[in-house]
Symmetry: C2
Subunit: 140 residues, 2 copies
């Protein structure tokens, strides 16, 4: 019931990358120094993120990373799914391989919980995360 560390790092990394929306060009090492995470870890996170289509990477010298989409169109749910795969609390939700599929009275209840979780994650976009820590309690 806990988010994996990689997914947590991915959210932080994307949050840091969103602050470079103007320039658009950032490197993995720069993101590592900004977030305080080890460089190899950020590299792995960035790889998964770009493989999922959330980050656009340019190889070679002078290359770098940039957001594939505007920050408003990227939610925390997208980032988590990019790293951990589809959000599914139980195997029943996606596939159907359940050891006790016959008399499973619990199955019809899982999609409700799953939707609630995913909805809560989808409600948070990158623009809300891109604000610095000195954000005040804005009366939204």
């Amino acid at each position: 019931m806990r988010l994996s560390n990689l997914a947590d790092y991915a959210v932080v990394t994307m949050s840091a990358a969103a602050r470079h929306c103007g320039g658009g060009r950032t490197s993995a090492s720069e993101l590592a120094s900004e977030t305080g995470l080890p460089v190899p870890t950020v590299q792995k996170v960035v790889s998964k993120l770009s493989a999922a289509g959330l980050l656009r990477s340019t190889r070679g010298a002078g290359g770098g990373l940039q957001l594939a989409r505007p920050a408003a169109a990227i939610s925390v749910a997208d980032i988590v799914e990019a790293v951990e795969g589809p959000i599914a609390l139980t195997p029943c939700v996606t596939g159907s391989e359940c050891a006790v599929e016959e008399n499973c009275a619990v199955k019809p209840h899982w999609p409700v919980v799953n939707a609630a979780l995913r909805g809560a994650l989808a409600d948070i976009s990158l623009v809300q995360l891109a604000r610095t820590e000195t954000q005040e309690t804005e009366v939204a």
Copy 2:
């Protein structure tokens, strides 16, 4: 982002145990045969469940299990927390040991998601799960 198998088994096991609310006395092997789960696995699940105070166990011959509380007072959140510990998507929620605690703009958003998930799990009680699979779509 997936529930552990043990927690899934625990929910199924408790759902099966709730159907014995009348007699109150059930054994782990009986629950295993009803759910189709391997016996040792049910034993382990039952141990954690009784250690958490959700199940009352009586040792010795003729002993057995029974729900410590009425089924209406037990929610899925209780079962999950009994097996996996407190529900916390990130370490920030419970403790404060975060590698990037300084400039973590993501931290204030996690309690919201965490509460949404826990609320969805707490809304489902054992009485809803105790119904057999032949339950119809009751217009609640």
